[in-house]
């Protein structure tokens, strides 16, 4: 191969690669704005512009709590405002626990108040739920045939040791809420796992985006909230909620 041909091939490959990267770059860049526009377009019932955004947020939060008055089954209230997670029924929050730490997508914190109102003025229903916790730790026991057999039967109670677990909720509007158990590690291990988590987030985002590009579909940004809770509270909350829980989110 001649040197000029190699040079041309390099230029061609370079142009194609830069083109691909640039298109992906633009997709990522506009993806949050697309989410924002979609969220804004949904049930915009009133023009709340020019009203103080803190007041609109307060209105959103009280409206979403008002909706819980109708909820017969147990629901979850995540309030990043006072760093707490509570469960309640019919408007009464009967158990509250403190959030150890949380991480919120910058898109959510930069939402315009009217979009916040549109999306969070009522409890959110989740379409996909994944958890590493067993919902009901049922142990099957076959009835003994007589008193002697019954005396020999020993059923050990469920373990009261709660390992770090995680729950992922995904809403129809693309919002992801991840509740994780607190892991007790040294500072160095914590720093390492934090870096690892950040890297895995970036990697998964890039992977999703590449997958979307391969299937010729636009990349969709999925805003998420990561919350760290005490392990016992995490299991208690998961088991308290129904299989299709409603969640009030305030931030």
């Amino acid at each position: 191969m001649k040197t000029s041909q190699i040079f041309l091939a390099k230029v061609f490959a370079f142009t194609i690669s830069v083109g691909i990267f640039l298109s992906l770059f633009l997709q990522i860049l506009i993806a949050p704005s697309v989410v924002n526009r979609e969220w804004k377009a949904q049930e915009s019932d009133f023009n709340y512009n020019n009203v103080e955004s803190s007041l609109i947020k307060q209105l959103t939060n009280t409206r979403s709590l008002e909706k819980t008055l109708e909820n017969d089954s147990i629901y979850l209230v995540i309030s990043l405002i006072d760093s707490s997670v509570a469960i309640g029924v019919k408007g009464v929050s009967f158990y509250t626990t403190k959030i150890h730490s949380y991480d919120i997508d910058p898109l959510l914190t930069s939402l315009h108040a009217s979009v916040y109102l549109n999306q969070f003025q009522k409890p959110i229903s989740f379409t996909e739920i994944y958890s590493s916790i067993i919902k009901e730790p049922i142990k099957v026991k076959i009835a003994p045939k007589n008193a002697e057999e019954a005396a020999k039967m020993v059923t050990l109670p469920d373990s009261m040791i709660f390992e770090p677990a995680h729950i992922s909720y995904r809403a129809a509007n693309g919002l992801n809420i991840n509740l994780k158990g607190k892991v007790k590690h040294s500072l160095l291990v914590q720093l390492y796992s934090s870096l690892k988590q950040r890297l895995s987030v970036s990697t998964s985002m890039t992977q999703e985006m590449l997958k979307a590009s391969a299937s010729l579909e636009p990349y969709q940004h999925q805003p998420k909230i990561d919350i760290i809770l005490d392990n016992v509270d995490l299991t208690s909350i998961y088991r308290a909620l129904s299989c299709t829980p409603k969640i009030v989110v305030q931030f």
Binding site: K10, A13, S17, V18, F21, L24, L26, L29, I30, P32, S33, N36, K40, N47, N49, N50, E52, L55, L59, T62, R63, L65, E66, L69, D72, V89, K90, G91, V92, F94, Y95, P106, S110, H112, S114, V115, P137, I138, K139, V140, K141, I142, A143, P144, N146, A147, E148, A150, T155, P157, D158, M160, S202, T206, M209, H221, V232, T235, S236, R239
Partner: protein, 214 residues
């Protein structure tokens, strides 16, 4: 060979540059949102502010009215703990025992799951020196034949402690002679307390008081 190395280096650098670009995009993209909207006039926005404030205060009043007026009990069946609350104060927090999640199977036709229900309940009745009328499963579990509904062998005295508070559907808050198991999930769905806590709850909670089980 040198050419191959050059090409490898070139593509590695290109890939790294591309990846950096993508990560950079993901970092800055989420802070860009569209906020363009129509504006209201000053007087319109003032009157809207008043409407919003009124709505907030009305909702807050509704929410306040939904709060329990008397003392209420919260049972955490995962941690096997109870919280006796009044208003926003916890009067007592201690261990209790709740359902074991055992599924008792008697052939193909009968089965029971011993779990504590979840949700909002009320104290429907209160009894002193309660007598336990053993249900069918208690005999099946012991490998004994099930007697007729009112057979004397169904009635046991003293096993439920000094008091019992009924929640409906046979679920009770009661005491136990097996105090060492308090704090473990060992019951058939009822809530077991030690003598001291049972007395406190019996005396603090009136009939109609709310009980939240989760």
């Amino acid at each position: 060979m040198k050419k191959l190395k050059d090409i490898g280096l070139f593509y590695s650098l290109l890939f790294m540059a591309g990846l950096t670009l993508l990560l950079l995009a993901s970092a800055i993209s989420t802070s860009i949102v569209d906020i363009g909207d129509k504006r209201l006039s000053r007087s319109q926005s003032d009157s809207l502010t008043k409407v919003i404030q009124l709505e907030i205060s009305t909702i807050k009043k509704r929410l306040r009215n939904a709060q329990p007026v008397s003392a209420y009990l919260v049972i955490n069946s995962t941690a096997n703990e109870f919280y006796l609350n009044k208003d926003s104060t916890t009067l007592k927090r201690d261990k209790c025992s709740t359902g074991s999640y055992v599924m008792l199977k008697n052939g193909d036709l009968q089965q029971w799951i011993f779990k504590t229900p979840k949700g909002e309940f009320k104290i429907l009745n209160k009894r002193k020196n309660p007598v336990w009328k053993k249900p069918d499963w208690a005999f099946v579990e012991e490998g004994l034949p099930v007697p007729s509904p009112n057979h004397p062998s169904r009635f046991e005295y003293g096993v439920l402690g000094d008091y019992a508070l009924g929640l409906g559907d046979g679920y009770l808050i009661h005491g136990t002679i097996y105090q060492r198991f308090i704090g473990l999930p060992v019951t058939h769905g009822c809530i077991r307390l030690n003598d001291e806590n049972l007395e406190l709850i019996y005396k603090t909670m009136p009939v109609g008081a709310k009980v939240y089980l989760f």
